[in-house]
């Protein structure tokens, strides 16, 4: 079965400025301090390979992902080994206010099994959402205040 987590954050900066940082893996991942590992593995054409692992208590869950900037305001990844998951980050203009933007992160992951997988996906969704939100808050703060 598959489950998804979706997190949205408004940032008081224009789309172009936010997208430049948010779609650059090096800069973006620096904000996701709750993740146990973000390791750049290799580059090929427009794609880059990364190991992405989330710290969950005393163990790490994650996978090797193929990451691509599909548009100036979009970043996507798909797992190539390890836990099956995909992620899509989009920086959108904020309605009626060009000085603001909205970052939307949607992460989809698959778990094998029946009832236990359903239970685990519920727990995992909460963990993922909290980590992504913390990363986006850190990104927002840096863009708005330069800290």
């Amino acid at each position: 079965m598959s489950a998804s987590a979706r997190v949205t954050r408004t940032i008081n900066r224009p789309v172009a400025e936010v997208a430049e940082v948010a779609t650059d893996p090096e800069q973006l991942f620096a904000h996701f301090v709750g993740f146990a590992r973000f390791v750049h593995v290799d580059d090929s054409d427009d794609d880059s390979l990364w190991d992405v692992f989330l710290g969950v208590g005393s163990y790490e869950v994650g996978s090797r992902v193929m990451l691509r900037r599909t548009a100036p305001n979009k970043l996507e990844w798909t797992s190539v080994r390890g836990a099956r998951n995909s992620m899509r980050l989009v920086v959108e203009p904020y309605i009626d206010d060009p000085t603001k933007s909205r970052v939307v992160v949607a992460l989809r992951f698959e778990l094998q099994g029946g009832l236990l997988a359903r239970l685990a996906s519920g727990i995992a969704r909460g963990i993922v959402e909290r980590h992504v939100l913390a990363g986006l808050e850190s990104l927002r703060h840096q863009l708005e205040y330069g800290d």
Binding site: I127, R130, H131, L133, E137, S138, R140, Y145
Partner: protein, 281 residues
């Protein structure tokens, strides 16, 4: 009242005036209580407090978010940790409390002995100038009774008095964020409209009256003291903020408010990533 179609009447004040009196703090009482409170904090709440080494050796204004309504277990966990590190007589810590707390029968007396004083600007400035540190929760009851789905959100309700307090007293702000307190009971909604319609904001200076689920009360409007669920409490002290250094002698208060709230929101969101399951921690 008018909104409910009731006649307009002048509402009596139900709270006794309890002036901020620092002499009511009782170090012997605190020393006597600390071991049993640590037992509760350590065993029941599995409390973790980090970052106290960031606190400078000078009077500071601790600014925090607090959860759990009237019980606010994260607040007492932080105060215990502070007293343990800096000792009861080291640099006294006074907490600014709602009149509903300091003026409450029985409980009020004990909280005042523990160093809780009725929140007031002039008194707080004097406490800081006398060399003490002060702990304030700017969001007050609106923060402590925010809905559960906002548990990891800084809710100061636009209140900026803490900034003026730190600026006037010439002390740094030390932000303190906490998680877990809101898992000790459940707040189901934002009760600000209800509190206003029932006149609680004027009668009791209570700005919110949400529906809560707690033990042993079950569903109840408001936040009476309750027996908390044994949720894991985490507290994180963040880097001090020097308002004069960052915003000058004549700060733009809105800008300073947004900045401090943002710093604390980042800290709270990071701390929340350590939670695997609500209540269990």
């Amino acid at each position: 009242m008018a909104k409910l179609g009731l006649p307009k009447v002048k509402l009596p004040r139900l709270l006794a005036d309890v002036p901020a009196d620092v002499t009511e703090r009782d170090p012997d009482f605190i020393r006597e209580m600390m071991p049993r409170l640590w037992l509760a904090a350590g065993l029941y709440f599995r409390a973790e407090v980090n970052g106290l080494e960031l606190v400078p050796d000078e009077p500071v204004l601790f600014v925090g978010n607090h959860s759990g309504g009237a019980s606010a277990p994260d607040s007492f966990v932080f105060q215990l940790a502070y007293l343990t590190k800096f000792t009861v007589d080291g640099r006294p810590l006074f907490s600014l409390g709602h009149q509903l707390v300091t003026g409450a029968p029985v409980i009020g007396k004990y909280t005042r002995k523990f160093g809780v004083v009725t929140a007031g600007f002039e008194a707080a400035v004097q406490i800081l100038r006398d060399g003490n540190s002060v702990l304030v929760y700017p969001g007050g009851d609106v923060d402590a009774l925010r809905p559960w789905f906002d548990r990891n959100k800084i809710t100061f309700d636009g209140r900026q008095g803490f900034l003026r307090l730190a600026h006037e007293a010439g002390v740094k702000i030390v932000p303190v964020v906490a998680t877990g307190g809101h898992d000790t009971f459940l707040v189901l909604n934002d009760g600000r409209k209800t509190a206003k319609q029932l006149g609680f904001d004027k009668l009791l200076r209570v700005k919110t009256l949400p529906i809560t689920l707690s033990f042993p009360w079950g569903f109840l409007p408001g936040g009476l003291p309750y027996i908390p669920f044994p949720a894991k409490i985490r507290v994180q002290v963040l880097d001090p903020i020097d308002l004069r250094d960052r915003f000058g002698d004549d700060p733009d208060w809105d800008e300073a408010y947004d900045y401090v709230s943002s710093v604390m929101q980042v800290g709270l969101a990071k701390l929340a990533t350590r939670t695997i399951l609500p209540v269990l921690g």
